[in-house]
């Protein structure tokens, strides 16, 4: 004879946790697209940017400001206090593991999140 019981608080918590996990994986986007960008000056994390929230951010580096733009799920340098502007030329970064850097200004941006198809990127 089968018996049924009302779900207890523990059961609901487990269901909610499982739901949150599925939702976070879905929000992380398809394949290797990242969900956030971690910005550092030297070794210090100075900002964490949500790649789903468009905006422009000014980061104060060693030599001066670096300007980052978040749009269309990607982050890019639009200006920086350096002479080469290789950071700007590197374009938009949206894939988990991608890193953009303005080395003279000591500002780095690493894309995180995503389903993590790759452990690291070679370029």
């Amino acid at each position: 004879m089968r018996t049924t019981r009302r779900p207890g608080p523990g059961d609901w918590t487990i269901l909610l946790a499982a739901g949150a996990l599925v939702t976070s994986l879905w929000l992380a986007g398809p394949d290797d697209e990242g969900s956030r960008a971690e910005v550092r000056v030297d070794d210090t994390v100075v900002a964490r940017l949500d790649l789903r929230q468009p905006g422009t951010y000014t980061i104060e580096g060693r030599r001066g400001p670096s300007v980052l733009e978040v749009a269309d799920g990607a982050v890019r340098f639009t200006d920086s206090a350096c002479s080469t502007h290789r950071c700007v030329a590197s374009g938009a970064h949206r894939h988990a593991g991608e890193v953009a850097a303005c080395l003279p200004n000591r500002v780095t941006v690493a894309v995180r999140g995503g389903a993590g198809r790759y452990d690291t990127l070679h370029y």
């Binding site: 523990g10 946790a17 030297d42 938009a92 070679h122």
Partner: protein, 344 residues
């Protein structure tokens, strides 16, 4: 049931990770060697991993200071002494780099030539922002006629003797590879069995991530996203030389830093060369040599340098690869034209 749930709830994240086979991964990134470094370890506690990564970082910074091609440091002093010719005492870093470079110079038929620092300087690449105009033909010719080579330097213990005043050492073609090898050696000494050392995109990986191999995405050099996936087999270095790394434009023409030692000019027709080898030093130098090699000679040069896995992307986007590379790559781009090139 309620008690069981209460006991298990705090462990839920760990249980979920364990169910997915997720190992402990420690990841740190920092700036060193003039580039962005990322080191990640697998299967090691965070304290031990952090300590090992800190030591590897010190090694990278030391090497960078010693081998910087134009800033004041040990190599700059050596180059001053080389220009004066005669005998002098060299620093350990330069001696090690020169010892590593000599066989690579010979095996590449001189296409990897770390004695051409003066040529790179003449082209305007020995500064933070490379800049033109390109040198006059006569300036290039006078350097090439002197035929600078690492063989011009005699080494006896820590003493160096140079006979060619045009010799100026520039280890830009292998310093990153050497740094990655040093970092891997240091991590292993500290008891790390699984790690990736990624130095500005060039990397060496050993061990694996939990119960699976390390997975590397090779970024498309001319577009967005990943060109191909690659699974690391044991202990391997993956290095690329590309015409997009250091360059300048002058009167509408683009000049990159990968100079052909025979012409003294930027090599043309190739966008990037990627190689796989057990050691970063060899992989780094080979990627440079195979970039400047001509279409009909690169398979022979690869063979001579002990490189089996090569991917050469030409300036029309065609992927030329050896069978050993083709069987390793999981191409992610539709419509890419590929050609398989056998080694002799």
């Amino acid at each position: 049931m309620r008690c069981t749930a209460r006991l298990l709830l705090p462990l839920l994240p760990a249980l979920l990770l364990a169910a997915c086979g997720e190992p402990t991964v420690e990841k740190q990134r920092f700036l060193a060697m003039g580039t962005h470094i990322e080191i990640q370890t697998s299967g090691t506690g965070s304290d031990k991993a952090e300590a090992a990564i800190a030591e590897a970082r010190e090694d990278l910074e030391y090497l960078h200071e010693g081998l910087h091609p134009w800033e004041a440091g040990a190599l700059a002093r050596v180059n001053q002494m080389l220009a004066a010719t005669g005998e002098f005492t060299a620093d350990p870093g330069t001696l090690e780099a020169l010892a590593a470079a000599r066989p690579l110079y010979r095996d590449s038929d001189g296409l990897f030539n770390p004695a051409l620092g003066k040529l790179a300087d003449t082209w305007g690449f020995h500064q933070e922002k490379p800049d033109g105009p390109p040198p006059e033909d006569e300036a290039i010719r006078s350097i090439l006629e002197a035929d600078p080579s690492p063989e011009d330097i005699e080494v006896d213990g820590v003493r160096m003797t140079n006979t060619n005043p045009e010799v100026q050492l520039d280890f830009g073609g292998l310093a990153k590879g050497m740094g990655v090898d040093h970092a891997v050696e240091r991590l292993r000494e500290q008891g790390i069995d699984h790690a990736i050392v990624n130095a500005g995109g060039d990397l060496r990986a050993f061990g694996q991530r939990g119960d699976r191999p390390w997975r590397v995405g090779i970024r498309d050099p001319r577009g967005e996203g990943v060109l191909a996936g690659l699974t690391i087999d044991g202990d391997e270095a993956v290095f690329t030389s590309g015409d997009y790394e250091r360059y300048y434009e002058h009167e509408g023409e683009r000049y990159h830093h990968l100079l052909d030692p025979r012409t003294g000019r930027p090599a043309r027709g190739v966008t990037s060369v990627t190689v796989i080898h057990e050691e970063g030093t060899t992989a780094d130098a080979a990627a440079t040599a195979l970039f400047v090699a001509k279409d009909d000679e690169w398979p022979r040069i690869a063979k001579q340098m002990g490189i089996e896995a090569v991917l050469r992307v030409d300036d029309e986007g065609v992927l030329h690869m050896t069978p050993a590379m083709a069987e390793r790559l999981d191409l992610q781009k539709d419509g890419a034209t590929t050609r398989i090139v056998e080694l002799p």
